[in-house]
Each structure stands twice: as C-alpha cells, then as structure tokens.
C-alpha cells in the first residue's frame, strides 16, 4: 500500500509538470493595503497549485501563469485572504486588515469557534494587544482589557498576587478564582507564563460557555493559548526591554521635632513625662534641638531605591505543511524598589505541530519555568506569617526617625515602647526565598477519518515544585513568643517548605461537523471524556534554636545547627475527577444558532452518592444583520447578533478530605518532653460526609454589534448568576471544631458589561482607534442556611475594636465593613479639669469613649457616634452614653459601583502610540495603616504628618498642660485631627476611604523602521519603543495606592490596606526584531 501511494504521487507530479510546460503567460501586479501602502512579502499563489511568488519592496510581483490557472490566492499575515480571477487582468490587489473580529477564532473548551458563531459570552485579548506593551505577567497584561473581568494587582511587589474575578463571585468563604486552562490543560494560575508566549486569552463568562468545563467553571474560565509555529520560512525574533522603576508615593510622617512633640504630649497626658519622655528624649527645654536633626527617612531606605527590569525574549518559529514549531526563551530580571527584594523568571517552551498526513495531526508542547523571589516582601499573606507585628512597611513608616537613648530594638516591653524593630534588621529578620519550578508537558493527536468526523486525544502532565524558605530573626514575633530557645535565650528559627504538586489529565473527544447537513442546516456535535488526577506532597520542616549569629542563608543551609521541632512529610489526599461531556452546535444559514452542552463530573472530594454532578446549558443566537429583511441596512449595519443563554456550572472548591475523619500527626511544642508530644489530631474542621456539588445557574442576554463596516463594534451583555447549595465554611462556636463545610445558602451576582471599539480615523498614514469598556456587578448574599451573619476578620491587629470588621449578612453583598462612625473630636467644653486627680472629667451627657481613647480621653480626643447599646421600651436600640461594640454599624462597601477601561491607539507612518487607562469607581478601602499610624497606643512610634495638625493640650512655649477650656479652644481653632488615641485601635468611618481611581496604566510610543530599510538589514520587522507603566493615578485615596488588597487569606476581607508594598512607576525602553 505504501508503494501504491508513492506511485500515485509520482504520477500526479508528472502529469502536473507536463501541464506546466504546456502554456504560460507572465503577469504583473501590486499588492497594497487599504491605505495604499505597499505590502512587502505578500504571497501570491495560483489556486490549486504550488506555483507562486511574493511581492517585492514596493509591493510589486511578477508571475508566470499556467494556462490552466483560473484564480490567484493573495495572502499576507494579519490580512484577509483574497481571491483574484485571472480573467479580469487587474492585478492591483488591495488586502484588508482582518483585525475585525468576526472571523477570529476563539477557544471555547475542547475546541474553537468563530467569533461570529458564538452564542455565549466570551471576551478575548489577542496577541496584538499583548505584544507591544512591556508587562511582566499575563494577568497584568489583561488588566482592564476584558469587560466583566476585574483584575486587581493586590500589591506593588514584583511577585504580587493578581486577583482575577469574572463577574463577581458566588462563594462567600472560598476564593472565587476562575479556572485557568493553558493549551487545554488546567492550571492553578497563569503567573509563570511569559506574556510573550501568549497567542490569545479567552475568557468564558456565562454557563453556556463554561458548562463544558462543568465543575470549576462556575467562576468563569480563562483559556490561554500559547503561540504555535506558522507555515512559512523560519522566523527568528527578539523582543526585549529594560527600564527602571521608582515608588509612586511615600507616606508623609512627622519631622523629628514634631515626633518629639507628640511623644511629649502623650507623656503629659499620661502624667508620665519622666519615664516616658525624659528617659528617651531628654528634657523638654532641649526639644528645640530636634529641629536641627534630619532624622532617617526609613521609607527611602526600605522602599525608596530605584529598581530595574530587564526582559529578553527569543522566539524561533517556522514550519512547513508537515511540521510547525515554535521555540521560546524568556528571561525576566527584576530588582524591586524594596530593600533585599528581587525577582527573576526564566521560561522555555517548545511547541510542535505535526501533520504527517492530512488526516492526522499531532501536537506536542513543553513548557518550563523557574521563578525565584528573594526578600521578605511587605507581608507574608499565605504560608508562614506568624504575626502582623512583623509587617515590614509599618516599620519603615513609623519607626523612630532618630536613635533614642534607652530604646533598644529588641526590647519587648510593649506597654512602654514602640514594639517595632529597626527596619533594616526587621527586613533581614524576615528574609524569605521562594523558588517555583513548573514543568508542563502536553501531547495530543487528532485523527480525521473524513471531512466530518474527527477524534482527538490529549495527555497532559504538570509538575509544580515550590521551595519556600522563611527565616525568623530575633525581632520576629514567632521567635520572641513561640519558638525554642538556645541556652535560654531566644534564637533564630526557620521553616523550609517544599511542595510538590503533580497533575495528570487525559481528554478524549469525538466530533462530527457538517455544514449543510440538510440544506442550510449546519451542525456540529462533540462528545468527550476527561480524567484528572492531582497529587500533593509537602515537606515542612520547622527548625529552631539556631546560634544567634545565624542569618537567613545559614539557617537554610546549615539546618543541623538548629533543633528540628518538626518535619512533616505529608502526602495529601489525591484528587480525582472523571467527566463526560457533549456539545451540540446547530445553525440555520448562519442566522439562527442553537447550542447545548451537557457535562457530568464525578469528584473524589465528595462521598459516594454525592459525587456526580450534572451541568446542562443551552444558548441561542440570532444574527439579525444577516436576515433578508435587513438587506437595506447593510450600508451602515455590518453586524448585529442577539444572544441568550441559560445554564449551570458546578464548584467543588473545598479541600480534599473534607468528608472523612482522618488524623494527622504533629509535634506539640506546648507539652513537656515527659509527655507524649507527638500528637494525633483530626483538625479544626469537622468532617461532613454529606457534602455535594455547589451549583451556579447563569443567565445571560447580550448583543454583538458592528456599524459602518465594523468601524464601530462591540458587545453589550446582561447577566444574573445565582449560586445554590453554596459550599460554605460554616463557623462553629465552641463545639470542639472551628468550622464545618456545609452546602448551605444562596448568593447572586447580577450585572452588565458594555464594550465599544471605534476606528476614529482610518487614513493611509494615520489611524486612530478608541476602545472602551465598562462593567457593573452587584453581589448579594441571599441566605446562609440560617446563619444570621458571618464575620470576616481582617486580622491586622488582635484588638477587638478593630477586628472582625467585615460582616456578611443576608440581603447584603460580601465585603461590607462594619465599624464605628467617626464624629470628629471632643471640645474643651465637654470636660472639666479636676486639678487634684489631674484628669479631665466628662460633663454629664458626654459620650464615653474612654476605652478607645485611653488616657487621651479629654478635649481633642477622637469622638465616635453613640448609636446603640441600650434599648427603648419597644426594644429598639438607643444610645447608651458610651462607645461599645454595639455602636458599630456598616461604614463601607468594598465593592465597586463600576469599573472599566479605555484606550487610544494611533499610528502615523512608522510611529505608533498607545495609551491605556483603567478605572474603578465607588468602592471603599479600609485604610488600616492610617489607624495604626495615628495612634499612640505604642509609644515612641512616629506618626503620619496629618497628626501635626492635631489638637493639643500643651503650651509649647512652657511645656505645661493647658487646662483652661477657653484657651484650649482658641489654641486649637485650626486643629484638623484629634489627639493621638492611646486606647485600642478602632475601625472608624474615618479610616474608610473612597477607593475610586483612574489610572493611566500605560503609555507607549513606538517607531517601526520602514520596510525599505529593513530589507537592507535583512529583517522583517524592527520596532523601538518607549513605555511608561503606571504613569499617573487620579485618586482621592490617601494611602500608597488605591488598588490594594492585603488581607487575602480570607475572601471575606477585601480592600484592606495594611502594610502594603507600594506600587511603582516603571519606565522602559524596548525593541522588537524579527528576522
């Protein structure tokens, strides 16, 4: 048979060449684009043959035309193919840009679909949008580009977690992270993919598109397709950029003199000048000397350095009909603005597509990445943070700007001193090293026995290993409070945490696709099956009592010098999933569409009887613009499609092993060695054998539109998602467990999205495009299975008056902040001075806030609204004259009213310019920094400079306390802040700020060398550009940056700004070269 085929081919070639010799004529022509610009290197092929040529530098071509030739096929990358009838003898061809989206293909899960034919809600970002702008991560690249997708860069560190939410989130206690699919393979996140590797990112938003992923599709699906080689000759390209960055902002703090004043005032109010002021600062009479002290700007020292970034990317790609390949190498080095902090990432990938026969296609891809993050960062949100008292930024802002006598940094007497450590020491003491290796191997093949049928099978394997080494120096909370001692002295400790995750998947699909199945009826059917297996292995070693001289790297490398408190080699419960799915797409004439999917998932996370979840969906579309009766409107209406969908998606986002009681072992550091210290416990979460799938029902209606030959185009969508059988981590009080997973409750998200793209100017040398999108989402918890409320603890302080400030109640969204209402400050008339006790005595009827103000309670103290605490005859809450927990109420909402982005892009001859802006409007931020940094609860801490304008009771010429109300009032006529409270920190409406912002996120100006010049340089393309990221942010927010989310370990507490790593501006120069 093999021989037969060979003979056949030879015979064919022979006949063909004969024909070639028969007759020929020569033709000449040009290929230009819509603007009349010559297209260099366009391909002209005689249809049905291999005869062809390419255009020269002026877009001209000459071709010997066989006599049999009927049609020419003219093509160029990025342009619509065009067929030219040779009979016309007009060979001046104009190609049009194919950026107009209709024929674009989008990934929809186990397949692709033309955008034109979509019935669900899908947003996409193309390579083009990703290509020209230097960003370090894929997630960053899509910020603001996709309606319905909110991307929050939670902090400014180079490895900052980027939070992506598709249409809000249905879960209350669980993360609402979407499902990431990279080249068909499920991934935990996309941070280790180099943006340069990415071809497209498609986001599936409604159930009609996500249901095919069944489980885990409930929070949306983000599908990343990486670049593959293209037919044609070998292409080598280099893109690179380098630049520097600087922090956008510093928080202003008091000068050394003002700092001394505040400490003096605190000491006077506490009647403790000798012990609290004189002992540290010297005599009051010498305070003026502090005017001549510059003091240390710790923010400059810790987060003030100029960082830099270098990124190099090489791609080799090419191929033939049989083999396509794409090899990509990327290296990113990033020196961050924070002392000791840097980041680098190396990516290598290979993608091979083989088509040995036209009925067989094989794919292979391998990606490997290594990410190294050095330095302690600002907070350790996940993993080994033992206490927020080690938060780094806090120290950098409020550590004493000048050395104080008697203040040693390791002094732990928190009643009297700052409870801070020298910022440099603190950075060193919290050092951390994180290295992540990710290897992904995918292989698959597709067999097409006939035009209609195809069978494809893919296998994927990924290995994710992470080494996380954390050091605890002598100033850390963990070492001073909870770790072993060495020779009875506190000693350094470290944890070494190695994690190893493996994922294996296999998916098999059979598809049938037939256009004109019956005349004008097109149909495609796909059925498939998928298996998934995940394993989890972790070794966590806690090693303490090192010699005190040991620094971070010593402890990590010389572990035998410490005492191993525990080594836990933990093999986690495997996760298995088996799925069956099918999809039917039908359309009539490309006008009426109907699509249905069904998926059944079996998950090992649930017990027998509850394992299988069924997720059906149905959707339809009507391409109104293609209807016969719309013919007359074609001049102005190029596309109008109405879509509607209804469907379900599931969620099993709970830890493995939540259904069976198992015991894990641990070492009790609390028990003496004479006791059994290797203990077995069954954890703090009570098992629930009855757990089952959580289901999200989504409803979507939308329309896609295009006017004036698609010069104006876009989409409009409305949706309502409701989640039932919510997997909620229900808090249990005092039963021996802290929580239990239950299927309880019901939430909803509804909203709308609108996007528009306008080609404002389309001239030969000048184009100007404008894009805009806006998204609105309203989240609501409908019920929580009988729970009246669910508290979220932001946990930056253990003080109860600033804890548990998030409260979820039925009828309200997740993310409401619950605190006291600020009521300005007390006046001198509210008190009388008791000269004997040297205390202010409140007049009757004055709201008692002594517990939060502490010894500062008196004229000028922080005042809060008394709204409840007692009850009237009808049982309604009424003020009780003092500030208690009952006076807390809802004071903020962290959910934005809307968010979106807009951009302009322009080209003028070889120049191009883009400006991207994004905004978030109407959300609140909980500025916890501000609370801590204006309090004198811990003495000898510096404060924010706003405190310089605080109410004072001190006559600064004599240093004595003013007790005459009239004098006080006159002195403080302009005071804008209360005097620093000394009682507990309190969450008040004052600390809740408007988080709205409009950010010019990127400005890029590029220049592409003219093609004539490139020809000389033997290049296909060369572009230089300059770019500024995070150019400017318009906001009223007083903290570092309004895009912030620092207490992320619980999804209940969004929008807290506590010791956040500041963001930076970055300035980059880059080049793209293709050979």
């Amino acid at each position: 048979m093999k021989n037969n085929k060979k003979h056949f081919v030879l015979l064919f070639l022979f006949t063909f060449s004969l024909a070639l010799f028969a007759q020929q004529r020569q033709i000449k022509g040009t290929v230009k684009d819509e603007k009349g610009e010559a297209i260099i290197g366009a391909t002209i092929i005689v249809k049905g043959t291999t005869t062809g040529t390419t255009t020269d530098i002026d877009g001209n071509f000459t071709l010997n035309l066989p006599a049999a030739a009927k049609t020419l096929l003219v093509s160029f990358v990025g342009m619509e193919k065009k067929e030219v009838d040779v009979k016309n003898n007009n060979f001046n061809v104009v190609l049009t840009d194919n950026s107009i989206a209709l024929n674009e293909v989008v990934a929809i899960g186990y397949g692709t679909q033309r955008k034109k034919d979509l019935t669900g809600s899908v947003s996409s970002v193309s390579e083009k949008a990703l290509r020209d702008i230097p960003v370090s991560s894929a997630a960053e690249a899509i910020t603001g580009k996709l309606p319905g997708v909110q991307v929050t860069t939670t902090e400014g560190s180079p490895d900052a977690q980027i939070k992506i939410r598709v249409r809000g989130g249905g879960s209350i206690t669980q993360s609402n992270t979407p499902l990431y699919i990279v080249d068909g393979f499920p991934m935990d996140d996309i941070s280790n993919i180099a943006p340069s590797e990415i071809q497209t990112i498609d986001v599936l938003k409604d159930a009609s598109s996500t249901a095919i992923y069944g489980s885990r599709g409930a929070n949306g699906v983000i599908i990343v397709t990486t670049k593959a080689g293209k037919d044609g000759k070998i292409s080598i390209s280099y893109t690179g950029y380098a630049g520097f960055k600087q922090t956008t902002k510093q928080l202003k703090v008091l000068t050394p003199f003002q700092f001394a004043q505040k400490q003096y005032e605190g000491a006077v109010l506490n009647n403790s000048v000798a012990t609290d002021y004189d002992a540290y600062f010297g005599s009051f009479n010498d305070m003026g000397l502090y005017n001549y002290v510059n003091g240390t700007n710790w923010q400059n020292e810790i987060i003030g350095r100029t960082g830099n970034t270098r990124n190099h990317n090489f791609t080799i790609s090419g191929g033939s009909k049989q083999v396509n390949y794409n090899v990509n190498l990327n290296r990113l080095d990033d020196k961050a603005i924070m002392y000791m902090s840097n980041f680098n990432r190396t990516n290598a990938s290979l993608k091979l597509n083989l088509t040995p026969w036209d009925w067989f296609k094989g794919d292979f891809s391998a990606r490997y990445s290594v990410t190294v993050v050095n330095g302690p960062g600002a907070n350790d949100v996940s993993g080994s943070e033992k206490s927020t008292s080690d938060s780094r930024i806090k120290n950098a802002v409020i550590f004493t700007p000048l050395p104080l006598k008697n203040l040693t940094t390791q002094d732990d007497n928190s009643e009297t001193i700052s409870n801070l450590a020298d910022p440099f020491t603190q950075m060193v003491d919290n050092d951390r090293y994180q290295k992540t290796n990710l290897l992904t191997l995918n292989t698959g093949f597709t067999i097409k026995p006939s035009q209609s049928w195809s069978f494809s099978s893919t296998f994927g394997y990924s290995l994710n290993t992470k080494e996380d080494d954390r050091y605890f120096g002598l100033t850390t909370y963990f070492v001073t409070n909870n770790s072993l001692k060495r020779n009875n002295a506190i000693a350094p400790a470290c944890t070494i945490n190695n994690t190893n995750n493996e994922t294996f998947t296999n998916a098999n699909t059979i598809s049938f696709k037939k256009d004109n199945f019956i005349k004008n009826h097109n149909i495609s059917i796909m059925v498939g099956q998928e298996n998934l297996l995940r394993t989890y292995h972790n070794i966590l070693s806690d090693i303490e009592a090192f010699p005190s001289s040991f620094e971070a790297r010593d402890t990590w490398k010389l572990t035998t010098q410490g005492t191993t408190v525990s080594t836990n080699n933990f093999y986690g419960t495997q996760e298995k999933m088996i799925s069956f799915f099918s999809r039917l797409n039908y359309d009539y004439k490309g006008i009426y569409y109907l699509s249905a999917t069904f998926r059944e998932d079996g998950s090992s996370k649930f017990g027998a009887g509850n394992r299988w979840g069924e997720f059906p969906s149905v959707s339809g579309a009507w391409r109104l613009s293609d209807e016969g009766f719309m013919k007359n409107s074609q001049k102005w209406l190029s596309n109008l499609k109405l879509r509607a969908s209804y469907g379900t998606a599931g969620n099993n986002n709970i830890p493995n092993g939540s259904i069976n009681r198992v015991y894990t072992s641990g070492t009790s550091i609390y028990l003496p060695s004479t006791m059994p210290t290797q203990v077995w416990t069954d954890g703090s979460t009570l098992v629930n054998p009855d757990l089952k799938w959580e289901t999200t029902i989504t409803r979507n209606v939308g329309l896609d539109y295009g006017f004036f030959n698609n010069r104006i185009s876009g989409t409009l969508d409305f949706y309502k998602n409701s989640t039932k059988d919510l997997l909620l981590l229900v808090p249990l009080g005092g039963v021996g467990y802290t929580s239990q997973w239950q299927n309880t409750g019901h939430t909803s998200n509804q909203g709308g999205e609108f996007s528009i793209n306008i080609a404002l100017i389309q001239k030969k040398d000048f184009t100007l495009n404008f894009g805009f999108n806006i998204s609105i989402n309203r989240n609501k918890v409908i019920d929580m299975g009988g729970l009246a409320s669910y508290a979220g603890n932001e946990g930056w302080t253990s003080m109860t008056s600033a804890s548990n400030s998030y409260l979820v109640t039925p009828g309200q969204p997740v993310g409401l902040i619950y605190g006291y209402v600020s009521d300005g400050m007390y006046s001198a008339d509210d008190f009388t001075w008791n000269a004997t006790s040297k205390k202010w005595v409140a007049k009757t009827g004055i709201v008692d806030n002594s517990s939060l103000d502490g010894f500062s309670w008196g004229p000028g103290a922080m005042k809060l609204k008394d709204i409840a605490g007692a009850f009237d005859a009808q049982g309604n809450p009424i003020p009780d004259g003092k500030i208690t927990d009952a006076d807390r109420t809802i004071i903020g909402n962290t959910n934005p009213k809307h968010f979106g982005s807009f951009n302009f892009s322009a080209t003028y001859k070889g120049w191009d310019a883009t400006i991207n802006c994004n905004w978030v409007y109407g959300n609140n931020i909980y500025n916890a920094n501000k609370i801590e940094m204006t309090s004198i609860y811990y003495k000898d801490r510096n404060m924010l400079s706003i405190m310089n304008n605080a109410y004072t009771q001190i006559d600064w010429t004599t240093g004595s306390r003013v007790t005459d109300p009239a004098t006080l009032t006159a002195m403080n006529a302009n005071a804008s802040m209360w005097s620093a409270p000394n009682g507990s920190y309190a969450i008040t409406s004052w600390a809740i700020e408007d988080g709205s912002f409009l950010r010019i996120s990127n400005l890029t100006i590029g220049y592409t060398l003219p093609k004539k010049l490139l020809k000389i340089l033997a290049m296909q393309q060369m572009r230089f550009y300059a770019s500024i990221n995070n150019l400017y942010t318009f906001t009223k927010y007083s903290g570092y940056d309004p895009e912030v989310d620092t207490r992320r370990s619980s999804p209940l507490t969004p929008g807290v700004d506590y010791s956040s790593y500041p963001k930076s501006h970055s300035y980059n120069l880059g080049v793209n070269i293709t050979f």
Partner: protein, 617 residues
C-alpha cells in the same frame, strides 16, 4: 487500510485509559490515619492522648486565660490592673470578670470573637477526649491493668477535668460525651448536675483503669494517675454537693441543688476517694511549706511528694505562672533575662489577710511579702545587685512563686512553671470537710496535720496549734493554706459565701486602717533597713522589717539610732482609702460568679444557646 489501523490503535490506547467507575473516585491520604488504625495501636493511641493535654498550652487556654485570670477577686486575693481610686473603670479586658462585671461585649476579654477562645478550647479538649474514648472502646480492648485501659482512664479523667472547669466558669453547658457529628453540632445547655453525675461516673470508671503513680506512663505528675483522678473526683463531689449560682428567670440565685441524700452520697464518694489516696501512701506533706513551691518552680515533676497532679506546661516555653503570679521582680539579666522586663504581681493580697495569720505560721512569709525586687540606685549603688524594695500596704505581694527559684531563666512571658492542680494537703482537708459533713471522727486529725506542718510541729502528734474541726475553721484554714493557688474563689462559691466573705474582707480592711476589731494590736508603724550582714541571696540585698507582728511597737530609730532604720507609717486611713476597699467588686459577686457565654458562641449556635443570669446575648 493503514490509516484506519492507526486510528484503531490510537482509539484502543486512549480507551484503555478510561476509568469511569465510581469506586475509582475513592481516595485516601497517605499521611493521615483513621480511627481504626490509631486506636488499635498503643503507640499511636498515646499520640491521641497527648492531643488531649495539648489543649492546655494553647493560646487563650490555660496558658494565658483560664488558669491565670479566673480565680479572683476573693476575700484574700485581688487582681491588680485597675486604678485604686473611685470610680473604677476596668481598664483591661481581663478585669471585667475579676470585678464581677462581665459582659457579652467584644471588649470583654473572654468574649473575644477569636475562634481560639477559652470555651472553644475546652470543648476542643473534650472532643479530643471523646474521640479517644470512643476509639479506644471500639478498637483498643481497654482492660484494667492494660496500657489501653490506662489511656482510656486518662481520656475520661481529662474530659472530667475540662468539664469541671467549664462548669466552674460557665455553669450549665452543653453535654457532649460523644464525638461531634453533623447531627449534634447544635446542642442546648444541660443542667450541670447531669454533667456532674456523668463525670463522677466516668471518674469512677477511670480510677480502676488508671495506673498508679510511678508506672512508666505516670512517672511525671503532669499526666493523670489513679490518685489524681481520685483527688479530682473528691473535688468535683464537694462542688456538686455545695452551693452554686443557678439561673432564676433572668436573675441568678445561689443554691444547693443536690438533695440531702445525694449530698450524703457525694460527700461519701469524696471522703472515700481521699481515703484511698491517703491509705495508698504514695504522697505526703512536705515538711517545708516553702519547698512545695520551690520544687514546683524547679520543674520537679516526679511522683511521691506533696504535689499529686500538675498542668503539663513545658518549662521555658508555655504557661505564665511566675510571670503572672510570681513575686514582682525586674529583669536582672540572671533570673529574668532577654526581652522580659519584669515578672509577677497580677495577684496581690488583701492587706488585712496578712494580719489574719498567726505570726508563727510558716505559711505567712512564704505566701505574702510586703516588698518587690528591683534595682534601687538610691539604696544600693552597685548596679549588679537587686534590692528587696518595700511597697505599701496595698501592694502586699504573693510570694509563693519566685523567678529566682525557676529552673531556667525567664526570658519571655512563657516561663513554663506548671501549676499544681492537686496537692496532698488539699486531699487531707477535703477528707476533713467531707468527714465533718458525714459526722465521722477521722477528719479532725487530718485537718490538724495540715496545721501542724504549718507551725513546724510533728504532724502525727497533737500540738498546741490544733483546732477543733468546724466548717468555719476549715474555711479559714483553706485560705491560709491555698492563698494564691486559684482555689479560694471556688471554695467560697461552693460554700455559698463569696459575696459575704468579700464584704467581710472589706470590713476587715476598714478595721485594719482604723485599728479596730481584730486588728487593734497591729502596729501602725514599721521600721526597715537592709540587713546589716549585707545578706545577698539570688543577687538581691535582703530587707529587714520590724513592725509587722503584733507587739512590735518599739521605735527602732530611737532604740537603735545607728542601726540604719527608716521609719514608715504603714497603716493609716490614707494608706487604705475607700476607693480601694470598696472596690473589690463592682457587680454583685453572687450574681456574676459565672461568665456569660461569648457572643460568638451564641451567634453560631443556631439558636440553641442563650445566656442566663440577665447577661443577654
């Protein structure tokens, strides 16, 4: 043909990987074990027993909440931390309970919404015990004399201990004697008498199962033993038979709920349990009262001494016995080092109580001293030396635990000295009390043995310090013996005299400052100097004080003008002001003996729990 054969081959391969039956979704974690594995193996079971004790050291448990802040105020001890003048404001969250003004507010330390609150921790300990009890019973074949039997006994005893403390602090609580399941998450409170009955039965089951002290598993008195369980049984019976604060509508009443017959049974169980300990002969009174506490600070946990049972703290790592209750002492770089600036002083002694002691009673000076220890450059220039620094009448310090005795220097709040739960003197006095109630004849001797040891007399022969056995004498004797040991408050509660005794203490203080009543002969003035022999112990210069005992009326500055004496007015109407005396409590002690159930517990109880005694929710 080839095309189809290749297709067929691939189909075969991939279909081969299909695994679709439901049972293949069963998964197991390899690093964790199930009940049947754990409780059928002695070594693994011991780890599950360890987990029950582990609760003691956890944050907000006995480490720093339960043991430390519950036992005051009484007629002999008070908690410091608030100002000494009226009107009092509890300045720290921990003060509310001590002042009998507990609230359900978050600001109240016991009501913090942290999931690791004391109530939840005790129930976590109970759950661990429940799991062990169910598991050992099912898989472990526990028999008397076997190690599995001992483990079952340990779990039963620790569960009874945690329940007894829950009842002490919260009264009626949910009865959970089986591992929690979805069906039993939300339980209402049970009457504490039901729980008492259950744990009394449990202890009676546990005692024959438990090993006696000295076995491989009971070498340390930090684990429960047969006699520890007996002592606990006796103590629980005395409480169950006595008064307690009960709900009455939205109010509280102090009452005895046991019937006279049941009281008799309970006293009998208590007496016989004590009798078994005494006749077992494994423990004895330490001839030196001081030595009990010295050994405790030294972390000596061997059996066969006076201490029978201790909480299992890890020396130097967990627990705040000395840093909370120790004799106040400043960092000296030797006994208190590193970050720890000072220790001690959270309990102080009601001043009149010092004068209630017979001066010959050796317990007085071990228990109470009028000074603290710190550098004092005015007295001693040598900056390496500490000085016993005289305080005032209202800062009489508890001195049973001293930083200088602690085995390892204290360098953080966690000194890890283990509190003694039960000592032999308590067994003798409990015997005497039960015997008195039952009309027996043996109690008097045991009662006086404790007194004889206190006065340095041979304990087995009648001495001049002997007193007749009466309930009043027992009440007084237990004060002298156990002052500062977190026992007094619960004694007063079960005798139903908490408020009246504190009122009596306030009256005593009034008498003391006015030289009236029992305090007529107390000297008003004291004379002090550093000891002339420059005695230095533990790096401190010792103080010599004259004028603390009745009859010490000589003016030393006159009789010994060159002796270096300093005269100080010690007792006067201004050294004990009304604001101090009248503020031993702010709420009514008889209405606020028990803590309210925390708000956080109530709101997560699905409506099954509410607060009584007018606390609100």
């Amino acid at each position: 043909m080839k095309k189809y054969s290749i297709i067929f081959l691939f189909l075969l391969i991939t279909i081969g990987t299909f695994t679709s039956c439901d049972s293949s979704l069963n998964v197991a974690s390899q690093s964790s074990l199930t009940d049947d594995v754990i409780y059928s193996n002695v070594d693994l079971t011991e780890g599950a027993i360890g987990a029950i004790y582990d609760i003691v050291g956890q944050n907000n448990s006995y480490r720093n909440r339960l043991w430390l802040q519950m036992g005051v105020n009484t007629d002999i001890e008070y908690r410091t931390g608030w100002s000494s003048t009226a009107p009092l404001v509890p300045s720290k969250s921990d003060d509310y309970f001590a002042l009998y003004t507990s609230t359900t507010l978050v600001a109240d330390g016991y009501n913090n919404t942290d999931s690791a609150n004391p109530w939840s921790l005790l129930f976590a300990g109970i759950e661990r015990a429940n799991l062990a009890i169910a598991g050992i019973t099912k898989y472990g074949n526990p028999t008397a004399g076997s190690t599995m039997g001992h483990f079952l006994g340990e779990a039963l005893t620790m569960r009874a201990y945690y329940y007894y403390d829950l009842i002490k602090w919260w009264g009626d609580v949910p009865a959970r004697f089986e591992p929690v399941s979805s069906a039993t998450i939300y339980l209402a409170k049970s009457n504490r008498d039901t729980i008492y009955n259950h744990i009394i039965t449990d202890l009676q089951t546990a005692i024959p199962l438990l090993y006696a002290s000295g076995n491989n598993y009971t070498k340390t008195i930090k684990r429960t033993s047969k006699d520890a369980a007996r002592g606990l049984l006796a103590r629980i019976c005395l409480s169950a038979a006595g008064y307690s604060m009960r709900p009455s509508g939205t109010d509280a009443v102090i009452q005895i709920t046991a019937t006279p017959d049941r009281q008799k049974e309970l006293y009998t169980i208590a007496r016989e349990a004590c009798r078994s300990i005494i006749s077992g002969g494994k423990y004895s009174l330490d001839a030196s009262f001081k030595n009990i506490f010295y050994q405790q600070c030294q972390d000596i946990d061997t059996h066969g001494r006076e201490a029978i049972w201790e909480l299992p703290y890890n020396m130097g790592t967990r627990g705040r016995m000395v840093t909370s209750f120790g004799l106040p002492r400043a960092n000296d770089g030797v006994y208190i080092t590193g970050n720890q600036a000072s220790v001690g002083g959270q309990f102080k002694i009601i001043p009149s109580f010092f004068y209630d002691y017979n001066p010959a009673d050796t317990r007085r000076d071990v228990t109470i001293v009028p000074y603290s220890i710190a550098r004092n450059s005015a007295l001693v220039k040598d900056s390496t030396l500490n000085v016993q620094t005289l305080g005032s009448l209202t800062s009489m310090n508890l001195a049973k635990w001293r930083a200088e005795w602690v085995k390892t220097p204290i360098s953080s709040t966690e000194d890890g000295v283990s509190p003694i739960i039960l000592r032999y003197a308590d067994v003798l006095l409990m015997f005497a009390e039960a015997d008195l109630f039952l009309g027996g004849s043996e109690g008097s001797n045991y009662f006086n043995m404790v007194r004889r040891r206190a006065f340095g007399q041979p304990i087995n022969s009648v001495s001049s310090y002997d007193l007749p056995l009466t309930l009043d004498n027992i009440k007084q004797e237990r004060a002298f013996e156990f002052c500062g040991e977190n026992i007094r408050k619960y004694d007063l509660e079960r005798w139903g005299v908490l408020k009246s005794k504190i009122d009596q203490a306030e009256a005593n203080m009034n008498d003391l400052r006015n030289s009236a009543g029992n305090y007529v002969s107390v000297p008003q003035t004291i004379y002090w100097r550093l000891k002339v022999n420059n005695a230095i112990t533990h790096g401190e210069r010792e103080l010599e004080i004259y004028g603390l005992n009745p009859g010490e009326l000589t003016d030393k500055t006159v009789s010994d003008p060159n002796g270096g004496w300093t005269k100080k007015t010690w007792i006067s109407p201004t050294s004990l002001v009304d604001g101090f005396i009248q503020n031993m409590y702010l709420g009514d002690p008889d209405k606020r003996q028990l803590l309210p159930i925390m708000h956080q517990i109530i709101i997560t109880s699905n409506g099954t729990l509410t607060n009584d005694y007018g606390y609100g929710n």
